[in-house]
């Protein structure tokens, strides 16, 4: 256990250069944007020259680039991501992201639940009945799943389950507000304030976006579980289990599944990070006011600071989720020395 803590600390230290590198990339991208930064800081060139000069001073734009980078870093570490220029002019970007993030988290939670609850059993059954009809259907389904654009699947679900069979609402808006708002995540707030209507509303409104977003990851997890299960089923200890007279189910669920889930953990963890990227498109289709929607709006209105802040935020969440996966992997697989 002690070794595990040391491993976590070592990984956290190794994270520092990566995070700095990511910040450097967003900084470089920010500065590669054509045109004068003041133009997008203070409204396109309508300012008097004195005001522009002042702005240049305030934002340190007269300093050499590397000093500007340190100013940028200093701002970031104080939680200051800059100011939005056109989506919500003058608003603090950190505030915008903090309000938007719970919606993205909620969507990701639902997608992750679908991915795990459907992906793992599908992979196991597919491997167990190798080359059967079930297996082939699952494999082709997974292949189509990885070939579909997330946003298009969302639109198709809207058409099928929102218009042709009106089961689910087409758009996100209209969830009953819970009495207590602690986390901003409707499902959790609904449980906290014991508001049954919010819980049902949350599930109904997130069902289609979660399926759309989860389909890609679901297919990847299914393929991964299937192949690692097939690999494990060929191991000696499975033959031993069968030889000593274990029932088929006990062999598969007790001996094979546990071992085949170790590599699957990595993929699941990486996919949870990847869901955040896909959320950009899904949130746009379903009009969910999360981080993704924020970024899309910022793209449409050329709000460069907001786009870069959103990109940086998602990248850092992604890095952290990868770290959690690695630690989990080390914890689950005692063969790994840390």
């Amino acid at each position: 256990m002690k070794g595990l803590y040391a491993y976590i600390i070592r990984r956290l230290i190794l994270l520092i250069p990566v995070v700095l590198g990511v910040m450097l990339i967003t900084f470089i991208l920010m500065h590669s944007i054509p045109g004068n930064p003041v133009a997008y800081l203070g409204g396109s060139g309508k300012l008097p020259p004195e005001a522009v000069e002042k702005l240049v001073k305030i934002y340190g734009l007269d300093q050499p680039l590397f000093i500007q980078f340190f100013l940028y870093l200093a701002n970031l570490f104080q939680g200051n991501l800059g100011t939005s220029i056109s989506v919500n002019p003058g608003a603090n970007i950190t505030d915008l992201i903090v309000t938007a993030f719970p919606h993205t988290v909620e969507l990701t939670i639902y997608s992750a639940i679908i991915m795990i609850l459907v992906g793992i059993p599908a992979g196991v059954i597919s491997a167990k009945k190798r080359n059967s009809l079930t297996d082939n259907v699952t494999r082709v389904g997974a292949l189509i799943g990885v070939s579909m654009p997330v946003f298009w699947l969302g639109i198709m679900l809207q058409i099928i389950f929102g218009v042709v069979f009106p089961i689910f609402p087409i758009l996100w808006a209209g969830i009953h507000e819970p009495a207590v708002k602690v986390t901003g995540i409707y499902l959790i707030d609904g449980f906290i304030s014991l508001d049954f209507r919010t819980i049902v509303d949350s599930i109904m409104h997130y069902a289609l976006p979660a399926i759309a977003l989860g389909a890609l990851s679901l297919s990847i997890v299914t393929r991964m579980v299937r192949s690692s299960m097939l690999e494990v089923l060929g191991e000696d200890y499975i033959r031993t289990a069968r030889a000593k007279g274990c029932s088929e189910n006990a062999t598969i669920y007790r001996h094979a599944l546990r071992n085949s889930l170790i590599p699957a953990t990595t993929v699941i963890g990486l996919q949870i990070g990847g869901l955040l990227g896909g959320a950009v498109l899904t949130e746009t289709v379903f009009a969910i006011p999360g981080i993704g929607r924020l970024i899309t709006d910022a793209i449409m209105r050329s709000d460069y600071p907001l786009v870069m802040a959103g990109v940086l935020f998602i990248a850092i969440i992604y890095i952290l989720s990868n770290l959690v996966v690695d630690v989990l992997y080390a914890y689950l697989d005692p063969r790994i020395r840390y």
């Binding site: 250069p17 990566v18 590198g21 990511v22 450097l24 990339i25 967003t26 991208l29 590669s32 944007i33 054509p34 292949l143 189509i144 990885v146 070939s147 579909m148 654009p149 997330v150 946003f151 298009w152 639109i155 198709m156 809207q158 058409i159 929102g162 218009v163 087409i170 990070g273 990847g274 955040l276 990227g277 896909g278 950009v280 498109l281 746009t284 289709v285 970024i295 899309t296 793209i299 449409m300 460069y304 786009v307 870069m308 990109v311 998602i314 990248a315 992604y318 890095i319 990868n322």
Partner: protein, 349 residues
């Protein structure tokens, strides 16, 4: 000069026998087994899913090339008399809000998707593979530096980094292509580095170094051809994901500018509205199906190539090839004996 001296000194070496040996080695057997390997490789592509993939990819290429000749309508000509028509024999996939034929637009759209997909993947290979091989070849701190930069680029979810890059360059086809290209560079650098490290353990690399071949020659002549297989597989799979990324970026409004409004992702983005979802389903369905088919085709082809190139499944040598190798061994044996019997051979340092 030194070589001439050696030739003079090795008079004992029977030039004719030597010559036969070398010719057999270089052309005969190698060519014949290569041909066999290729045929064997082709026969392993005969899996139904792979064939579907090949058919789809060929179909797409034909659609893209022949679009001007087979498309029944002009993809950008506005015809307000035939707005929002559902699919019929006249308009196979219906028409859009400007009366443009969706089927024709999809055919033309194949041009954009294939162009961006293939160009961005080729570009990523041209940048990433030499970077990866160079990194493996040089080792040391240069290797660490290059790979750390690649790791940092992989720390972004790819679509997010592509969005940021495309945004900075400014909307347009070149912006999307470059964005997708840059995002896939680290993948190729990593694959190339990994395979190159394995190849560099081989004796022929050591031999090339020993005879003083320059680094560039070793990289391009000896390492590159030997790591081609995994890169080719990755390229095929990557064209599919490049098409997906293009669709996503176009959907966000970062894609092709007018007049290239017939890009598949952009079509969905342009048509997407409450009205279209509730009433004009064909406008949203068919461009998306085109994307799915395109990506699926490249994925199936890539999977098939990977399986076919799997060294675990390499051919067992045919009888003919075995006979050739046996003959060759006998000849080599004879050659050796002629060396031994001829005491005039001197050791050349």
């Amino acid at each position: 000069m030194a070589d001439d001296d050696r030739a003079v000194k090795n008079k004992g070496l029977d030039s004719e026998v030597f010559h036969i040996g070398v010719t057999d080695l270089s052309s005969g057997v190698v060519e014949r087994t290569r041909m066999r390997r290729f045929l064997d490789f082709l026969s392993r592509l005969k899996n139904p899913l792979t064939i579907i993939g090949i058919v789809i990819v060929i179909g797409l290429i034909l659609a893209a090339v022949l679009a001007p000749f087979i498309a029944p309508y002009n993809p950008i000509k506005i015809d307000l008399t035939s707005k929002n028509l559902p699919p019929s024999l006249d308009h196979l996939f219906g028409t859009d809000g400007f009366g443009r034929d969706i089927f024709s637009r999809i055919l033309y759209g194949a041009q954009i998707s294939l162009f961006v997909g293939i160009v961005s993947v080729l570009g990523a290979v041209v940048v990433g593979v030499p970077l990866g091989i160079f990194s493996a070849y040089r080792g040391g701190y240069i290797d660490t530096l290059i790979m750390r930069i690649m790791d940092i680029m992989l720390a972004f979810p790819s679509i997010i980094l592509a969005i940021a890059i495309a945004m900075v360059i400014g909307a347009g086809m070149h912006a999307v292509t470059i964005a997708i290209l840059v995002v896939s560079v680290p993948i190729y650098a990593r694959i190339a580095r990994g395979s190159a490290l394995a190849v560099m353990q081989e004796t022929y690399i050591e031999a090339a170094r020993a005879i003083g071949a320059p680094g560039v020659r070793i990289i391009f002549k000896h390492i590159f051809p030997n790591i081609l297989a995994p890169i080719l597989v990755e390229m095929t799979l990557d064209i599919g994901s490049a098409v997906l990324s293009l669709a996503g970026l176009s959907f966000l409004g970062l894609g092709a500018p007018p007049p290239y409004t017939y890009d598949w992702g952009r079509m969905i983005s342009d048509y997407f509205s409450y009205q279209a979802v509730t009433r004009y389903w064909w406008q949203l369905t068919f461009p998306g199906l085109a994307i799915v088919f395109c990506v699926l085709g490249w994925n199936l082809l890539g999977d098939g190539l990977r399986d076919a190139m799997d060294p675990k499944l390499r051919l067992k040598l045919s009888k003919a090839a075995k006979k050739i190798i046996k003959d060759l061994k006998q000849k080599q044996h004879a050659l050796k004996r002629s060396f031994k019997s001829n005491k005039k051979v001197e050791v050349v340092n």
